[in-house]
Symmetry: C2
Amino acid sequence: MLVKERDDNQEVKTKEQQILAAAEQEFLTKGYDGARTTAIAKVAGVTHAMLHYYFRTKEQLFERIVDEKFATMSRSMFAIMGDPKLPIVERIIGGVATHFDFVAENPLLPRFIINEIVARPERYEVFYKRAGVVIETMYRDLQLEIDLAAERGEMEKVDVKMLFISIMSMNVFTFVAYPFMEPLMGELMSDRARFLSQRKAENIETILRRIKKQ
Amino acid sequence: MLVKERDDNQEVKTKEQQILAAAEQEFLTKGYDGARTTAIAKVAGVTHAMLHYYFRTKEQLFERIVDEKFATMSRSMFAIMGDPKLPIVERIIGGVATHFDFVAENPLLPRFIINEIVARPERYEVFYKRAGVVIETMYRDLQLEIDLAAERGEMEKVDVKMLFISIMSMNVFTFVAYPFMEPLMGELMSDRARFLSQRKAENIETILRRIKKQ
DNA sequence: TATTTGTTTAACAATTTTGTTAGCACAAAA
DNA sequence: TTTTGTGCTAACAAAATTGTTAAACAAATA
């Protein structure tokens, strides 16, 4: 009985899915150390024995979440690459916007990933082995395109990696530091949606000015 | 016997100081949940009963560290304000540089603070109450100065708060995301000191272009 | 020297958290 | 109808972690 149905034929989550959903919430907000399997079970609405029945250990449940989160984060980073069909400047600006939206949809992700990597770097060597090569190639291609555009006088000659770090900095910080900044910024951040749209425009403007020929 | 001395008359840390030093390291790297009082005691070279003798609870020991860290972070933020005697553009650029150096000296601080605030926001209402007012006044003054300079055509008219967020974003991200980025960036980040100096220049350049009149 | 005060340790206690197990209930298969 | 397997619960077990205490010891003080 993998998919449960109610009388009215609406699909309902299986217990396993309920546990996964609760675990995602708990791990993303509190991290591995702060998360409690009993709390996860409670939120999921099952006994904690149930949790161990399905996932055996906290560690294994955590891995399920971590794997998915790393995959999501990889996709978000590739979003910065932008649409290869566009001219380079629009491509970069489109990349900033797409990346911003990606992080906006997963605002808890960056802090979670960074904390994880600091806590147990060894664990993610596999991830880096695969990602490193892919990224290096994509960087080379993009750098080539930028250098050509720069020679044509269409933009400033910049280092792709540095540019990427700047883009990630501004987009990620917006969400990671939100809880810290919000009470300090008064009016500006009181309306979250409004602030985010302003911030997105600001990040785009900042990057645009960085790559514009002066 | 508050200050211990050795035969050779060199000063040695008291047990209390040893515990505090070890606790700072443990809490900054692992956070409250990940930290273990036994591990702190071990690093400090004392029994864990000793730790409880001096600080009674993990909570109280943590508060000692947290208070100091929040003070340090406040100072780092005021660094962005720059030197009021300088012309506004130099003042801002100087602020970026000083803030960068500040974070460089406390690379573990931002992640620690953010994690703390996410974990228990209530606890820091006091901090925000005090900081909020001070910051609001300083913002107003700076914004005034910027608006005047903009009217004189010396710089672009920008929102101070947005500018501050951009500055913090780029400077803080450099250090917070370092462990995550380093294995992805190959050559660029293999020499930490070299990378940091390049990154500092890049952050300054980015902010400079943001406020330059076009 | 005797007394007091503060420091240290070892052993223990309490609590929290994770993980296990025996067995019940129920549905599908034989 | 019996059997088999799965989902599930309650109660228990184990481990890790924090916190306490009594007593030994050392240092300062009267």
